[in-house]
Amino acid sequence: MVTPAAYRSSVALEATLGNPFDPAAPVPYRSLIARDEREQRPDEAFEVAHQWGISRHLTPTGEGGRLTCFEELLSLLRVLARRDPVLAVGHGASLFAGLPVWMWGTAAQRALVAERLAAGEFGAIAISEDRAGSDLLATETTATPTRAGFRLDGEKRLISNATRGTFCTVLARSGPCLGLFLLDKRALPADRFRHLPKVPTLGLRGNDLSGIAFDRCEIPVSARLGGAGRGLEMLLTASSYVRVLACGIALGAADGALRIAADWARERRLYGQNLLALPPVRERLSAACLDLLTAECVAVSAARALTLGADRSRLWSSVAKYMVPLLCERTVRNAARVLSARFFLREGPASGMLQKFARDSAVMGILDGTSMVQLNLIASALRSVAAPHAQDRGPDLDPTSLFSLTTPAPPWRPRHTGLQLRPVARDEITQAWDGPRLAGRFALFDAERTGLTRRIQALTWTHGTPRTAYALARRHCLLHTAAACRHTWVHNRRLLDPELATPQWLAACWDRLLAELGLGPPEPAAGLPEDDLVDWLSRVCSEGRWPSLLSLPPPSKGQHHGQANRRGGAAVQ
């Protein structure tokens, strides 16, 4: 098994966090659940991640960090999330606050954020407001120009890291335009801002979610980030990156849940046999496994596209943000069904961690743009992609570079990123695709692709986005997902375990997507015996690996579930 370079840091981070099932490990499930029950932030776990060096991976190389590769960062967030999604959301919020700074900030602003992150501190991105919701143009917080800078007034709410963040990137109205402002909270007049109470939530209970109220809060002119009045444009550009990276959190919650279910099925005896031997249990595990691997194909390619095909990322990041949480939530639900009654109990397998994954993953389709917002963006992008009129569509992007995991994606150069708001002109993922045929399955997708283009071209856009466009956008997402599975399989077969290298695996993934499209898979049914996939899952988990296409090597030998040692994984580092 070859571990691509982008994943080596994930193996190291996993080792540092230790065996999650071992109560003596540096970051065990048991203590995370206890914190969650009390709605407390898992500070010790954050500290372990900091000591390992997670903040280096949120900071670009040019600013003293190690962030060059979004595929690597996606995987690191996944590792954090499979331990506790709260860890990934906390660091993800810092990253979102930092992205516009890395791309458009002054040297002093970049130095401030780099210094704070290196010290283990956190950042917050203050965009949303109670009344404005997801309508950013309705932002009411104002930054009024003054002789010395700006005066902030307004209330930002539902902000992760609002309380503990020592720096904060704020969207505020500055005249009729919106601006972005980087606040050093330590330098703010203490009597001119206050933190709002923590917001109780269904999941992510330990997340520092609250708000900040500004009352005639004076900030210096140097707080303005990037071009005056271009705050929304910067934010919309940064959102493409955040949407993709949020997929890592969904993947982590899903593979954490699936591993708990697989372990339980292997250990639990019922009717005189292992649960794993029961056909309905195998069916659930197989479905969960296929959904997770499918989601991974979409997410990883979207992360690579951020530096390979940034002008397509408007479309591909929205497709990923729509599909990956959906597939991952279904993975968690199927994992929960394997636990059956034990899922309902707040004790037992993994101390109720699967319940927590289920609660936490419920937010993934909402966070950083809801599913409906994504469908709207996708529909709009498809309108230009499907347009028949010749336009400057630019050069083709070879899907090989996008999907071949042994070839590193180009490094991110934040200062050269620029605003990425141009219409999407090409979609090679769904267009550059011609098989394998897999007993008539490809023909069904091919017909769907042709029909979709025709139907999108026929839409009438005279009263906003037509209702049908949302349905077509959803069908496009399923088509994109099928193509992503195909490209991943074609370009990485040699990396995959034998059970996944077989075309029957691809056929099985496609059959689930065809069913979602309302298209019956052709006979015979998918060739991959369910047993092969479930056996693979069981083997991977028993070896201490995580269910993933690459199923990275275990942190260390002798650390598998049921063989916990007191050293945990930290000793391996």
Partner: protein, 112 residues
């Protein structure tokens, strides 16, 4: 007429400015939609034509790059394109105007 040409015409002439501004907008939106300029309707605001916020933000950036005029996104989204053509006709500096103005290098900011 392609967009750069339409922008150059608008910036170079004091005559028929509304017509030139409308031609520029048609060309710009046609490029966004992948359609022909004569198929772009000018009687409806962008948001009514189904343009999403990201595309509208992009259009605002393109207008500033081409013509040196900053149109706020909210105004761009909600204004009829005929009205927008009138605004551009009034705000875009031509070479003749620039010759007589002080500080002509700065963009015209409609957000002020």
């Amino acid at each position: 007429m392609d967009r750069p040409t339409a922008a150059a015409v608008l910036r170079s002439s004091d005559a028929d400015r509304h017509t030139h501004a409308a031609a520029y907008l048609r060309s710009l939106l046609a490029g966004c939609l992948g359609t022909a300029p004569d198929q772009v309707a000018l009687d409806q605001p962008l948001e009514a034509q189904g343009f999403d916020s990201v595309t509208i933000a992009g259009i605002s950036v393109i207008i500033e790059e081409d013509l040196g005029v900053r149109v706020p996104i909210a105004e761009l989204a909600a204004s009829g394109l005929g009205e927008l053509a009138r605004l551009l006709a009034a705000d875009v500096r031509t070479s003749e105007r620039e010759a007589g103005e002080v500080g002509a290098d700065a963009p015209v900011d409609r957000s002020r």
